[in-house]
């Protein structure tokens, strides 16, 4: 019982939780990154961006404001901007001007983007379901 109370201090529990998160994150993100990259030439952020874009497209006429998409991602503004640039060069995404506010840009997924996302989906889900059994 002594040992139990020793390992049940708040400090220990907090450390263990963080340790779990670290382990899960590194394990899954490593495998995801590798699987998506080698299988479809996509990074994790690339895939997440396409995934969110695709979902939003269903609703709002296939386009979404850059800043709104950015708000849904775990990326800084600069990293997000460069990710969009990469995907645009790859032909997976299209920028479009916004008439109401010319500072803003719309973003739309192309048919190639949809196809690649569909192809990468099973890879993505396979890695996740392997870890979260």
């Amino acid at each position: 019982m002594e040992a139990v109370s020793e390992f049940a201090t708040p400090e220990f529990r907090v450390d263990a939780q963080w340790s779990d998160v670290l382990h899960a994150y590194h394990s899954v993100s490593g495998q995801l990154e590798h699987a998506l990259q080698s299988g479809h030439g996509l990074g994790m952020s690339d895939f997440e961006l396409l995934k969110i874009l695709s979902k939003s497209c269903g609703k709002a006429k296939n386009k979404i404001l850059m800043k709104d998409l950015e708000a849904q991602m775990y990326l800084s503004q600069s990293a997000f901007s460069r990710t969009v640039t990469r995907l645009e060069k790859a032909g997976l995404v299209e920028r479009g001007a916004c008439d109401n506010d010319r500072r803003s840009n719309f973003l739309a997924i192309t048919s190639e983007g949809c196809d690649l996302l569909d192809a990468a989906g099973p890879t993505y889900r396979a890695v996740l379901s392997k870890h979260f059994a």
Copy 2:
């Protein structure tokens, strides 16, 4: 009931778990990185390395083999090597040759390293306990 079963598909549960991990990781690591860096000039990996080194030191005469420490961290071999180099330049850590096997190196924490680790500890625990309430 329809809605419930819809949100209880295996695919959805897995996605939600991964989403939770992503959120926790980015939130905590971001704040940890910032707090440790601005407060003590340490990155997360630097702190973790010192932390593990300090624990191992208690037992084994204040030194541990590089490769053994590396095995306990979420870093590639090259990133680990460079982290050690940074900490060594900062005077927080000391490399030492291993007589039995001259391929290996011992690693020891310096008194400055211990002091800084002690100083950074409260910062570290403060961030963690804020998130894992």
